[in-house]
Symmetry: C3
Subunit: 343 residues, 3 copies
């Protein structure tokens, strides 16, 4: 199934080796020496594939699967078809991630600086780092070890990038400090001036945007996402945040650790998001708000007020999610009782 | 009207030639030998221009137009001003498209590989294909005949592109197979890893995304649109789909043939869209849904459930469009009868 | 506070010099010879910093600030802590903008054409203009004086750019005329063909898009924003408009002067926006509408009808904003009185 034109392939691995990679236990009766050559979904896996069952919703696929082996929670193991080798793990999806990464290790930076790359005066490039064709690392920028700056990416003057980070093709970074193990996807824009004007007279006057963007370690930033630099304070993306594609982060926004922002969501200037907040797709947050730790913002909601820690909100303007679902129920009752003739 | 700095110009053409191009009939009394030098809207066209009337809404412009000729449905022909040459066609807009393309043929690829392009090891470039300055065609990629890979576009290792396709400036493609006559606009991102993490523990762990993007023939993909590759299955854009700008397509999404997705709409992971579905601007679709053939999703709606074939939905959460319009009517009646004093 | 890796620094300046730059008056008792070395927010400024108070909301920060000086409206001056030098101005934020720009002047184009830039046949480059590495200025394009075309930007054939304009890294322009002092951010897409098809038969047929994009003077266009060229008429962005990131402008749209369009908003084809209209984030406007001068469109609203001059609208479908706020109040009353048991 996995297309060798696009993915490297390692292995085969024995069940024993995979158990160690995944931190899983080999089920009684499964042969530790059995060999596997790849991973595949339950519905398409064959005798040499290792699959996974995480969502019990797919238990029927599990029962019917021709996979040679599967990583599964102990309480699901009884549903396995006869002859399937089993790895038992409390978090099967996490185990699968480790196994899949072993079979298909990501591309490693070549350690080469392409002849068509442009390295500015005083820039520093770490060991093992690859700089692709057409990429620009401007004056005084510092790129860590084992990084990969892909083709036609542009790293502005003075930018700092930590070890083991990737900047995708055509992405452009300026006025920012990027941590280690950060994955910046193609077309991302970081550090351009924010949307700050004095509008008391026309023509409007640009207000200098004198802050930076700080991206902490282990962050992923989706394709064509935009993150403006701060106006004076910094814009901050906390450690381990995951931003999807086409997300907009305004100037001075601060995201805590482990936040997840789904595609096309937008956060207006100076809003503070505490740790582990989840923001659904196409949601919008006004500026100058505070969203408490662990809050959840439903897709497409429009947040115009602070959100409490752990609170779940939905709707435009956003209200507690339960309230929004009740409101939708009320709308549907009104539809049954009113207006049946005149529209 | 048409600016010669930006568009090539052919012709002039006689009414007879234009009739053949458009598959139209020359109206009685119109001179087949009359010559035209270009196209223009009804309101600005002059004696040497050929215009079109498609939407009867513009019938008044038609009556008053100074255009030398016009392509029009037979039932509208009677409204033509005296002296206007007429081409009769049941689909005047389609006929106009053919005529406009004849007067202003699109740029043809030069067949040259720019000295500043980078062609990777084992890559294959078809005949008549142009590779612009700074463009990268990475190792083992295969680009068909008469393609145009514009300046600073990046085609990743192993990518396959069919004949007569265009990849716009600064677009980046990886992990994908692209059909024939596909038009990828500037800044498009195809094939980057999808938004797949195991979030059972922090830091979240990336789950390898081992699928591809398949773009079938005759697809158009608007500027800065993002299409993630599959997690295991492929992401598929069916033949003849038209995607507008800034659209987001999540991993494993499958679009059937002839779907139209308007700007800034987003489709979350694993949702299946059957043939000829129309999705309005800024609409959002949850993951793991099915949208039946010919369904219509209104602009800005938020789809959280399956949609039946041919169904029209609107609102957030999306409901049958008629119901949504009735709901809006109910809201307006409530506004008349309630709350007039207290807000 | 301001990071010297990213911002140039000028000064120090005396209070007298700053007063002149800002068009402000020195308050009685403040020493015109006092010297300042930079700007900073009230909460972090020190003795050598000049700060500002614009929004009276921050009056407490003002009272408690350790800033050496502050620009402030005369009526707020009485709240200043002892010893703080004061500049009095009716528009303190505008004054601050001038002062901040004096301390941290923007980067100036070097006047150099990079050896890796590609200048097409017949292209003209003005005096003092910088063309970055990998940038392309295609045949017959005309770039004015003191412009900066950043790394890997692509300027298509025949494009015209006025004096003192900036095109950010990786941006791509075609089929357009750009005014003076225009700031195009990284990743912007201007001039690609609009979303115009004849859909009367499948496969759909492209309708040639024969118009241009006209961007007037003093416009700012945010990162990854997309502006399609006209179908026949032009797409026009009026003088002094400010567009934020990830905005979509369809073909034939006309924006008057001084419009502000916040991030992720979208305007469908042929809609006309008069002068000084403000469009909130993620708002969507249907095609073929007219929005009157000075109208305000709330964030996330969905505009499906014309908007009158000066009108404020909100909601989907958009209604007068006051009505929408009343409707939200009605929803909340319904939540109190209905459905408390059954959802």
């Amino acid at each position: 199934m996995v297309d060798d034109r696009f993915f490297r392939r390692a292995g085969p691995f024995t069940l024993q080796e995979l158990a160690e990679l995944a931190g899983a236990e080999i089920a009684q009766g499964s042969d530790p020496a059995r060999r596997f050559s790849g991973v595949a979904p339950l519905s398409t896996a064959g005798a040499e594939d290792l699959s996974f069952l995480d969502n019990p919703h797919y238990a029927e696929d599990f029962r019917a699967s021709a996979a040679g082996g599967c990583i599964v929670a102990p309480e699901q193991a009884g549903k396995a078809p006869a002859g399937m080798a089993l790895l038992l793990a409390s978090k099967p999806y996490r185990g699968y991630a480790a196994i899949a990464a072993a079979f298909h290790p990501g591309a490693r930076p070549s350690g080469q600086i392409d002849a068509n790359a442009r390295i500015g005066e005083g820039a520093e490039i770490g060991e093992g780092t690859e700089i692709g064709p057409g990429a620009v690392v401007d004056a005084r920028a510092v790129v860590g070890d084992r990084c990969w700056i892909a083709a036609n990416a542009v790293i502005g003057p003075g930018v700092v990038i930590g070890d083991d980070s990737v900047v995708g093709a055509g992405a452009t970074l300026s006025h920012c400090l990027i941590g280690a193990r950060v994955n910046v996807h193609p077309g991302v824009r970081i550090g351009q001036r924010g949307f700050g004007f004095d509008m008391s007279d026309f023509p409007f006057r640009d207000v200098p945007q004198l802050g930076r963007v700080i991206v902490e370690d282990d962050v992923e930033i989706g394709a064509n996402t935009t993150i403006d630099r701060g106006a004076g304070p910094d814009t901050v993306i906390g450690a381990g945040c995951k931003l999807d594609n086409l997300v907009q982060i305004g100037h001075n926004v601060r995201l805590g650790r482990g936040c997840v922002v789904v595609a096309q969501a937008g956060i207006a200037g100076s809003t503070v998001i505490e740790d582990f907040v989840a923001i659904g797709g196409q949601a919008g947050l006004n500026g100058h708000l505070r969203v408490g730790k662990g809050a959840q913002i439903a897709a497409q909601s429009g947040v115009a007020r602070d959100v409490q820690p752990g609170e779940r909100v939905a709707g435009t303007p956003a209200m507690p999610a339960k309230q929004f679902f009740r409101l939708v129920g009320i709308w549907h009752r009104l539809l049954k009782t009113k207006g049946t003739k005149d529209e």
